[in-house]
């Protein structure tokens, strides 16, 4: 599905070259759920943005289903089948939930079909379908709508950037259920989640730990998770849900 080869990403900060991602190689096969964890500032979100095309790497290659997408635009990657759920969902004046889900699906979905995506993320569809995706919605509501758009998109590979960030506890429990269901229904699709949450790490096929831009550890959940317990890379849901 996804092959990341020797990927590096540098930025210029105060006249200095700063390496955010250093020579990372990862392979995500079809039908797998990968979780990337690690301390804050370790490069996780940057890696997610490099995969979606929001940032361009300094060196290295990204291959998606045998196509080199390293220099492809965000749009072309989306069309090939890469989905991306933002850590901080974007607000739009005037665009309604219904519009956004229809855009995501690329089809003129019926109201019933749109409602089914909202129900999957625990929103009462009738209340939300004509709401504008603007600041009248709470962080938790926006996050769930963001997840609903990604579900409607139905990408081959979906990247979730810290889905737990900025949401309340109730939304978080609901979110875990969404991912558990996604995990059960994964088929040949793949999911990549950036997260510190123990419950999300628990449903991973493989866990990757990024630290200071370097791939520190990777392996199956059983190999990697025990050593992470009690660290900032695997927190319980009562901590960090409002970070």
């Amino acid at each position: 599905m996804l092959k990341i080869k020797n990927l590096s990403f540098d930025v210029q900060s105060e006249g200095q070259n700063k390496e955010i991602i250093k020579d990372i190689s990862i392979e995500v096969p079809d039908g797998k759920l990968f979780v990337i964890t690690g301390p804050n500032g370790g490069g996780k979100s940057t890696l997610a943005k490099l995969i979606a095309g929001i940032e361009k790497p300094t060196s290295g290659q990204i291959i998606f289903n045998d196509t080199d997408i390293t220099d492809m635009s965000i749009t072309d990657r989306a069309k090939l089948g890469i989905g991306f759920a933002f850590q901080q969902p974007v607000r739009f004046k005037g665009i309604q939930v219904l519009d956004l889900i229809r855009i995501a699906s690329g089809k003129e979905l019926s109201i019933t079909e749109v409602c089914s995506y909202l129900s999957k993320v625990g929103l009462c569809a009738a209340e939300y379908i004509n709401r504008e995706v603007n600041s009248s919605l709470s962080g938790g509501e926006l996050k769930r709508i963001e997840i609903a758009t990604v579900l409607a998109r139905g990408s081959l590979l979906t990247v979730f950037d810290e889905p737990e960030a900025g949401i309340d506890l109730w939304s978080f429990s609901n979110l875990i259920e969404v991912f558990e269901r996604q995990r059960r229904e994964i088929k040949d699709r793949s999911i990549l989640i950036i997260s510190h949450q123990e419950r999300i790490l628990n449903i991973a096929d493989e866990i990757i730990v990024l630290k200071n831009g370097v791939l520190e550890t990777k392996g199956t959940k059983d190999e990697v998770l025990p050593a992470l317990m009690g660290t900032s890379s695997a927190v319980k849901e009562c901590r960090g849900v409002n970070n």
């Binding site: 989306a78 991306f84 974007v90 004046k93 005037g94």
Partner: protein, 307 residues
């Protein structure tokens, strides 16, 4: 009433009608009334001496509708039209106006519509006005609407004022006088492109206790176009007023927003907001991750913003 294709598509754009509307109506095309109908509760009569209509809506009526769209299809026409609405106490009415100009010629076409609303006590009026220009002639499409509202006690006026596209030059002037407990809500949407310019001037006077106004203007200025938004609320009593200019600039567009408040009573509570900026990069990125190109994403964002 036979309509040609240009008339039909202009009417569709400005009044969303494809056939003779229900209720009372007057359809004006190239300076002539081509269809008019009064109803039991709404009387439309032509003015004498000047061009225009007197429209009387009886007191206590409910769910009445009045359509008075204007289309211009001949290049070089200039007209000034006075329409006065007399809305009876407790009446509830939807009024759909709007003007579409198709100018394929070399001469300017201009429609200056002066609409005066005398809104009776506790009446409820919804007014929808859409402006649209088309045609590839060098002559300009010019619209200078003047809207005057005189709202009696407890009445409610809701106005949707939209300039869809294609209007080269416009000065939009709205003046309102609100008595005790009267309420006015305005949602203006302005889109300018190419070399167009738009001036929008509001002066809303809150003269009675508990009068309130909420005036929101959203604009998009593309290409080399220019917009000036001059929104003023005057509080002359214990009242509430809010005015907001919210604009997107693109290309070489320019916008000058001048929200203004004047409080002449210590219990007047007035707020203004203004924001101008380009489309947020993160909005474009989000829609591009959903498979839209940058241009498609821009269109979606603007269409939503001007909805």
């Amino acid at each position: 009433m036979d309509l040609n294709n240009i008339q039909k598509y202009l009417l569709k754009e400005i009044a969303d009608i494809t056939e003779v509307p229900q209720g009372a109506y007057n359809i004006r095309s190239d300076s002539q009334s081509i269809g008019r109908q009064s109803t039991e509760n709404v009387e439309i009569t032509p003015k004498e001496g000047v061009s225009g209509l007197d429209i009387f809506i009886k007191p206590n009526v409910k769910d009445e509708t009045v359509h008075i769209p204007v289309v211009m299809t001949k290049s070089g026409l200039k007209e000034e039209v006075y329409n006065d609405f007399f809305i009876g106490d407790n009446a509830q009415v939807l009024i759909v106006a709007g003007c579409g100009i198709d100018n394929c010629g070399a001469h300017d076409s201009q429609h200056d519509g002066i609409h005066r609303f005398y809104v009776g006590k506790n009446a409820k009026v919804k007014y929808v006005e859409k402006h649209y220009g088309s045609g590839d002639g060098a002559g300009k499409r010019i619209l200078n609407p003047v809207t005057e509202v005189y709202a009696e006690e407890g009445s409610t006026v809701e106005m949707e004022m939209v300039q869809i596209k294609g209007v080269d030059d416009t000065t939009r002037t709205t003046v309102a006088e609100l008595k005790k407990g009267a309420s006015m809500v305005v949602r203006e949407r302005l889109m300018t492109h190419e070399e167009q310019q738009a001036f929008s001037v509001y002066t809303v006077n809150l003269n009675g206790k508990d009068a309130n106004a909420d005036i929101v203007s959203r604009g998009v200025a593309r290409d080399n176009s220019f917009q000036k938004l001059d929104l003023k609320i005057v509080g002359n009593a214990e009242c509430k007023g809010h005015t907001e200019c919210d604009s997107i600039i693109m290309d070489n567009g320019k916008i000058l927003a001048v929200p203004a408040l004047e409080a002449n009573d210590v219990d007047a509570s007035l707020v203004h907001e203004a924001a101008i900026g380009k489309i947020a990069g993160e909005q474009l990125i989000k829609l591009m991750t959903l498979g839209l190109t940058e241009a498609e994403a821009e269109e979606q964002i603007i269409n939503g913003f001007l909805r």
